[in-house]
């Protein structure tokens, strides 16, 4: 007991109160942040009657799986998840291919023309053609309503490019020089030495790209028309915000006596299903993103 307290300087009552307040505020912020998630999970398992009658609850009185039966029968949200997954994988592959190949020559400050290209990239961080000219380019390339419209226009993100470029720059030159003496071409050096050595930074940039594809709503909104191609974000908006949940497949389910499709619970269940994938990868993503913020803050 004595040894524990020995090194601690005694706190005045006011300081103790202050520290307690810091704990309370921080813990409350944490709880307030996750409470909406807990509530929609609870609500998605509740009956429509309970949702109308009770205000806030974390555990429903009567458990009901009707909302989930409904969205499974309807199927659109799962089709959306599958589409999003496809867009995310293919999109990230395109991102990485374009970003890494451009970043490597840009990491060589001695290369003629490198500064010109780098400045060309930096200008786009500050100024862009904007929504309509971008849309017209995609339209004139005949990419409207195709997944390429979601992948190609954002193939290189300038910030991510600079993160990878800076990482390449920090790799020891000796390795490349040794490989050159052994007769490796620049391409072989890039593929066999640079890329394998850069796995951690490539992985984190890959994650940035993947998460932004997964969460993207804007590009699908303006470029896609066919319902079958919609990613999960568009479908979730249709179900929850535009209240287009009740479709023909879904309403054929028998919900029992007095059973109507549980509208509010269906919306909650759809939100839960759309949130789960990102929560599954959250532990990995959190670490890499935190490092990314710091890299971005230092290097700009």
């Amino acid at each position: 007991m004595f040894t524990v307290n020995k090194n601690k300087i005694k706190m005045s009552p006011a300081e103790k109160a202050g520290l307690t307040a810091a704990y309370v505020v921080c813990i409350l912020s944490g709880i307030l942040t996750i409470i909406p998630f807990l509530y929609i999970v609870a609500g998605s398992f509740a009956t429509e009657k309970e949702l109308v009658e009770r205000s806030f609850f974390i555990i429903p009185h009567t458990f009901s799986y009707n909302a989930y039966r409904y969205i499974v029968a309807d199927g659109s949200i799962f089709r959306g998840l599958a589409n999003s997954f496809l867009i995310m994988i293919a999109g990230t592959i395109i991102n990485m291919a374009f970003t890494a190949t451009l970043a490597y020559p840009l990491s060589k400050s001695w290369l003629k023309g490198r500064n010109l290209v780098l400045n060309m990239v930096i200008v786009t961080m500050l100024f862009s053609g904007g929504m309509i000219p971008n849309y017209l380019v995609v339209k004139n390339l005949g990419l409207l309503d195709s997944y390429l419209a979601l992948m190609l226009p954002g193939a290189v993100n300038a910030f991510n490019l600079i993160i990878i470029k800076n990482f390449f720059q920090e790799l020891p030159v000796e390795l490349e020089e040794a490989a050159k003496i052994d007769g490796c071409s620049d391409l072989e050096i890039f593929l066999r030495i640079i890329l394998p050595l850069s796995k951690p930074s490539l992985a984190s940039v890959g994650l940035f790209y993947a998460v932004s594809h997964w969460n993207d709503f804007f590009n699908s909104l303006i470029y896609l028309n066919t319902t079958k191609k919609f990613p999960v974000q568009i479908i979730l908006r249709q179900i929850v915000l535009l209240a287009q949940g009740a479709s023909a497949n879904g309403s054929s389910i028998d919900f029992g006596v007095g059973g109507t499709p549980p509208e509010q619970a269906v919306r909650m269940a759809a939100t839960v299903v759309a949130t789960i994938p990102i929560l599954c990868v959250y532990p990995f993503v959190q670490k890499y993103f935190e490092q990314g913020v710091m890299v971005g803050a230092v290097k700009g």
Binding site: G18, C26, T33, L106, G129, P133, L236, V293, M294
Partner: protein
């Protein structure tokens, strides 16, 4: 010395052919998807028709800009955009700083990590999920917050359609979604403070509050100032997705901002030239503001962004 012939550009490029070939896809990408659209801004000076193309469309000069500045929509967009940005600046901007200062006082590693893990989550969910949660919680019939408000005031407020709530909903969404994430940069600055300063202050008899005022705050002051200046530089960027998702026909008088206006007129109504002019006005002003604030950052002795 004249005899040493300079290597021609062509043979230089041949010698480094892989470097240039690797660069090629990226350069083509930037030309097609970044520089061609910039050139496409020319349609804001035309009556662009997709059938006639840029070459065939009628040239009208600055007419669309004139129309836009004379239009009452212009004032509405400015008011709406700046109202949302300024409310964000006043109410959202200080949140990560306050929370970072409080969290910095928590020395218990497990408690600190758990809180961080919880409040970072919303940063990773999409705006559609944020809007879905908002719609669920504020639903006019079954929404929890609507019901709680009804218990206090006696009548159910129409949160989602009444214009007077719109801006506050946007600000609260931002606070909920990004406060935790915004802390990271301040937490890093706080972690860099020399602990000897606190020890010395303690020996001198300074209490916790005085330590925070005289050591902690000054040491993150430059980070705060830089973040603030950068926020001012992006005042015009209210974010398309969030506003678009929360906007509806009943609240659009306060919800319409530059990006949503361009979308509605350009993409859904096909007024390409006019909406490009509006978008270009916004981009030019926004880029100028970023350059100015960046210049101020550099004057303050900081590195700046570009």
């Amino acid at each position: 010395m004249e005899k040493v012939k300079k290597e021609s550009l062509w043979s230089y490029m041949k010698r480094h052919k892989w470097m240039y070939l690797l660069m090629l896809p990226g350069i083509i990408y930037f030309i097609i998807f970044k520089y061609v659209p910039m050139g496409g801004l020319i349609i804001s000076f035309q009556n662009y028709s997709p059938y006639l193309g840029i070459a065939g469309s009628e040239w009208v000069g600055a007419e669309h800009f004139k129309n836009f500045f004379m239009n009452p929509d212009f004032k509405m967009l400015l008011v709406n955009t700046f109202s949302i940005s300024v409310l964000n600046l006043i109410f959202f901007f200080p949140m990560p700083i306050i929370l970072a200062l409080l969290l910095n006082e928590i020395k218990n590693k497990i408690v600190k990590k758990s809180i961080q893990t919880m409040i970072y989550i919303p940063h990773f969910v999409s705006m559609v999920i944020v809007a879905s949660l908002t719609f669920t919680l504020l639903n006019a019939e079954t929404g929890v917050i609507t019901q709680l408000a009804a218990m206090v005031t006696g009548n159910k407020p129409e949160f989602l359609s009444d214009p007077k709530y719109f801006r506050w909903i946007i600000v609260i969404q931002n606070i909920w979604k990004e406060t935790g994430w915004g802390m990271i940069i301040f937490l890093a600055a706080l972690a860099g403070v020399d602990t000897q300063l606190y020890e010395a202050a303690e020996v001198d008899g300074a209490g916790k509050m005085r330590q925070m005022w005289h050591i902690t705050l000054p040491s993150i002051k430059s980070t705060i100032i830089i973040m603030l200046i950068m926020k001012v530089g992006t005042l015009l960027n209210t974010g398309f997705e969030q506003i678009f998702l929360m906007k509806n026909s009943l609240n659009s008088s306060v919800a319409e901002v530059f990006d949503t206006y361009v979308y509605t007129l350009g993409i859904t109504q096909g007024a390409f030239s006019y909406s490009t002019a509006v978008g270009m006005f916004k981009s030019v002003v926004a880029a100028t503001m970023v350059l100015i604030t960046n210049w101020i950052c550099k004057k303050c002795g900081e590195t700046g962004l570009y």
